[in-house]
Amino acid sequence: MRGIISLGGYLPFRRLDRSEITAVLGQGGGRGTRTVASFDEDTTSMGVEAARLALANVDAMPSMVSFASVSPAYFDRTNATVLHAALRLHRTTAAFDALGSQRSAVGALELALRSTGTHLVVGSDIRIGLPSSADEAAGGDGASAILIGDDDAGSPIIAEYLGGAVATGEFVDRWREPGSAQSKLWEERFGEIVYGELSVQAWADALEATDLTVGDITTAALTGLHARAVARTGAKLGIDNLADDLSGSVGNTGAAHPGLLLCSMLESSSPGDVVALITYADGVQVSLFRVTDAIAQYQAARTIASQIEAGGSVGYAKFLSWRDMLPIEPPRRPEPDRPSSSAAYRNADWKYGLVASRDQESQRMYMPPSRVSADGAVDQMDHIPMADAVGTVATFTIDKLVYSPSPPVVFGVVDFDGGGRLPIEIADVDADQVAVGDRVEMTFRRLYAGDGISNYFWKARPLR
C-alpha cells in the first residue's frame, strides 16, 4: 500500500480583506479575505513551516524532498536545499525543485505517488497580481507539505492512493514572463471549453482505473487558477459533495493549493472515505485516495481550520509594500550586507536548524552554540535542536531606528522552557500587542536579502 503518511498546511498569519482593495482603488477586490505572507516570508520559508508541520508527529523520514513554486526565491540554484537544511534532513536525502507553474506541484505529487521510497512533497506560493487584478484578489499565500510513502515507512498510511488519471493539453490560457509581477490571461471562454473537455476525460479515466463510480466519492476538491473553468466544468462531473476550496478565506495559493485542499479534506474525513483531488493546470489531473483506519490516531500538528481562525488583518497599503508594489521610505540606516555563503554553510546547523549546544556537565544552554562552557569545559557539548522549543518573552522593546524591510522591529529576549535564552525578533505581531510573559514559538523566516542572497534565520512568534 502506498499513500499519504502525513500532511502539513501552513497559512501565514496576515489576512487582507478584499473589500479594502475596492475601497482604495475603486475597482478590483471582492468579498472575503486572502492570506498574506509577511514581509519576512517567502515561498521557501513558508515551505519550511509546512514541512515542519507535516513531519511533527511522524516517525517516517523522507528520502527525497521536492519543492514546487511559481514564485521561488531563487532561480539557477535549488530552493529545496534550504528546506533540507532547516528540517535537518540527512545528507543522503535528495532535494530538488519543481518550478514554474501550479502544474509542477501536482506533477511532483503524482511522481511521488507512483514512485518508491518516502517523499516529502512541498508546494508553496505567494500569489501576486497588479493592483485591482483578479489574481491579486483571488490569490492567497501559503504552503503545503505531504509525506508520501509505503506502509513500511515507519508510520501508518492515513490515505491510500487508489490511482488516478491525467489529461494533458497545450493551450495558452495564462502566462507570465520571467521577472514580471503580472500574469496575463487569454479570454476566459476558450479555457473553459478546453478544461471542460480535459476534465471530463480525466475524471472518467480515473474512475475506470480505480474501479470506482462517482457515487463512491465521499468528497472531491477541485482547484485551478482558471476559476471559471473549475466552477463551470466541475458541475459536469456529477460529484455531490464538493469540498470548500478555501477561496473565501484563504484564496488560491497556487502551487500550495492542491496540498492544502488535501489537508483540509483529510482533517474532516473518516476511515473508508474516498477523496478526490482534481487539479486544473495546463491539463487536468485526478488523484483518488481512500482514508484508512489510521486516520483515527492521526494528529494534525496544526489544522487548516485553526489557522483560518487565527489570522490577523493587514491593511491594503502594507500588503502592497510587502509585495514591492508600493515602495516606502526605508530608515536612514545602512542596508544589511549579504550573508557570507561560507560562514552560513559552516554554521548551517545553527542558522537553518536552530541547533544549540548544551554543556554536558552543567546542562547550561548556549545559543548560538558555544564550544567552550562558562565552567571551562571545551567541546563537551550536546547538540540540542531548538526549533520546536517554546519560550517566554522575558523582556522586549520596539526599535524604530534599526533597518527593517517593514519597521518597526519588535524584539524580545526569549527564555525557553527547559533552558536557554535567545534575544530575537518577534514576528507576526503588532507592536502594541506584545507583553512580558508572552508565550512564543520559533518560526523560519527570510530576514532580508543582501546582493540577492536571501538571508534565512529564525524568529519568535506568538503561540496562538
Binding site: 536612514r332 540606516r333 545602512p334 544589511p336 550586507d337 550573508p339 557570507s340 560562514a343 552560513a344 559552516r346 554554521n347 545553527w350 542558522k351 547550561r364 544552554m365 548556549y366 545559543m367 548560538p368 558555544s370 562558562a374 522575558a394 523582556t395 522586549f396 522593546t397 520596539i398 526599535d399 524604530k400 531606528l401 534599526v402 533597518y403 527593517s404 522591529v409 524584539f411 529576549v413 527564555d415 533552558g419 536557554g420 535564552r421 535567545l422 534575544p423 530575537i424 525578533e425 512580558v436 530576514l447 538571508n455 534565512y456 534565520f457
Partner: protein, 399 residues
C-alpha cells in the same frame, strides 16, 4: 596570578581635546593633528620627544600608519587599538603599561573618530563577513530593555522612571551647555525630553549620546619623571578592564538591571586604588552615558548608590554639578558627543581639567576639604549582557 595595577607608577603630564562637533570641515587626519598639537603644547614636549604611540579608533582607520603618516612620525612605533566604545581608554591603558614597564619614557595615547562621513544617522557597525544570524537591533534598542526591567525589579513606576532618565539627560545637557568643547551647548528640560517621541522602547533621541566627530589625547611618563615636565600632573591610581563572556544574552538569570562587566572593573579599580567608599572618596566621575538608562545602572554598579536606589539619588540631585558627587560634569556622551575612539580620552580630559582646577570657573567643581583629590572614569563598549567595561581612577598626589 592577580590584578595588581600600576598605582602611582605613571603620570599624565599633558592632555588635549578638540571640540566635539559635526566637523564637516575636518578630516580624521586634521583632528588627529589638532589633538596631538594641543596635547604636546599641554605637556611642553615636541612630537619627537614621544617614544611610542597608541592610537585608538573604532572604525575610522586601520593600523598605526593612520597616525604616523599624518603626524609624519620618524621611526616611532604606533599601535592601533580597538575595543568598541572603550577604545580611547584602552589606548591610555596600553600606553600607561608601556611606560610603567620601562620600555618607553614618554608615550602618547590618542583617540579619534570620524563618524559623520558615513552619511547615515547614528553609529554604524563595520561590516565583517557573517552567517546572517546576528541580532537585528540598534544599541538604543538593546539599552531600552533596561527601563522596564529596572522598574519591575525595584518597584518603580515606569512613568516615574521615564522622568528619572530625563533628569539624567537634563543634567548632562546643563553641564554641556557650560562647556565650550561640548557638541550640544543648550539646556533641555526633563519635561521636554519626556514629551519626545520614542524611537526604541521608551527612549527618545534625547536619551541617546550625541553623534559627533572628535579627537583627544594624553601623554604619559613614569611618575618619578612627571615633575620634569609638569607642575601639576595627574597620577594613575587604577586602570581596570573587563571583557565580558556574553552570558547576559544567553543566560536566563541575567535581568538587565546591572552591567556586571562594569561592576567587576570598578571593584578591581577600587582595590588597585585603595578606595573603600567610592561615594565619599571620588570627587567626580565621568561615566559612559551612551543612553540615559546606562548612567542610571552605572551609579549602582560603580558603588555610588545602593542597588535599587540610584533613581532616588538622581531625583535628589546627588550627581549634579554642585551635588554630592558630580557625574559627567563635562556633559557626558549625551551632550559632549560620542566619537567612539575619542570618548575615553575625552573623559580623562575632564579629570585633567577638573582635578587640577582648570575647568571654566562657572563649572569648576569645589575640591576643597578633600584629602585625596580622586576622579573616576568609566567607559564601556557593547550592550547589556555582552560588553567590555573600563574603569580608571586618577588623582593629584602620589599616596
Amino acid at each position: 596570578m592577580g590584578s595588581h595595577g600600576i598605582k602611582d607608577q605613571v603620570a599624565v603630564i599633558g592632555m588635549g581635546c578638540i571640540p566635539f562637533r559635526e566637523h564637516w570641515e575636518a578630516s580624521l587626519d586634521d583632528m588627529l593633528i589638532d589633538a596631538a598639537v594641543l596635547t604636546c603644547e599641554s605637556a611642553g614636549v615636541a612630537k619627537d620627544d614621544i617614544d611610542a604611540f597608541w592610537f585608538g579608533t573604532s572604525q575610522s582607520a586601520a593600523s598605526g600608519l593612520s597616525l604616523s603618516i599624518p603626524l609624519k612620525l620618524e621611526g616611532k612605533p604606533v599601535t592601533r587599538v580597538e575595543n568598541y566604545c572603550a577604545t580611547g581608554s584602552e589606548a591610555l591603558r596600553q600606553a600607561s603599561y608601556a611606560v610603567a614597564s620601562g620600555a618607553y619614557d614618554v608615550a602618547m595615547a590618542i583617540g579619534a573618530e570620524k563618524v559623520k562621513d558615513g552619511g547615515y544617522q547614528g553609529l554604524n557597525a563595520f561590516p565583517i563577513p557573517h552567517d546572517g544570524t546576528k541580532r537585528s537591533l540598534t544599541a538604543a534598542g538593546m539599552y531600552s530593555l533596561i527601563l522596564p526591567a529596572y522598574a519591575q525589579k525595584h518597584g518603580v513606576d515606569e512613568g516615574e522612571l521615564r522622568m528619572v532618565l530625563a533628569k539624567i539627560a537634563e543634567k548632562n545637557h546643563y553641564n554641556g551647555a557650560r562647556n565650550p568643547l561640548s557638541q550640544f551647548r543648550r539646556e533641555v528640560s526633563a519635561e521636554k525630553i519626556c514629551g519626545m517621541a520614542a524611537v526604541a522602547g521608551e527612549l527618545s533621541v534625547f536619551d541617546c549620546a550625541g553623534v559627533a566627530d572628535g579627537a583627544a589625547a594624553a601623554i604619559v611618563v613614569r611618575a618619578e619623571d612627571a615633575h620634569k615636565y609638569c607642575d601639576d600632573p595627574l597620577y594613575i591610581k587604577a586602570l581596570s578592564f573587563v571583557s565580558g563572556n556574553g552570558s547576559g544574552v544567553t543566560d536566563p538569570d541575567y535581568d538587565f538591571t546591572s552591567l556586571p562587566e562594569c561592576k567587576m572593573a570598578a571593584d578591581d579599580a577600587y582595590a588597585q586604588a585603595g578606595v573603600t567608599d567610592p561615594r565619599s572618596e571620588i570627587a567626580l566621575a565621568e561615566v559612559h552615558d551612551c543612553f540615559t538608562p546606562t548612567e542610571l545602572l552605572l551609579m549602582e554598579d560603580l558603588g555610588f548608590s545602593e542597588p535599587g536606589t540610584a533613581w532616588r539619588d538622581v531625583l535628589d540631585g546627588t550627581f549634579h554639578l554642585d551635588g554630592e558627587l558630580p557625574v559627567n560634569p563635562d556633559g557626558g556622551l549625551k551632550a559632549f558627543g560620542h566619537p567612539v575612539g575619542a570618548s575615553g580620552l575625552r573623559m580623562h580630559y575632564e579629570l585633567w581639567q577638573q582635578l587640577r582646577g582648570k575647568a571654566e570657573p562657572e563649572r569648576q567643581i569645589d575640591l576643597s576639604g578633600r584629602d585625596r583629590k580622586l576622579g573616576l572614569v568609566h567607559n564601556l563598549g557593547g550592550y547589556p549582557g555582552e560588553m567590555v567595561g573600563f574603569v580608571s581612577i586618577l588623582g593629584t598626589e602620589v599616596d
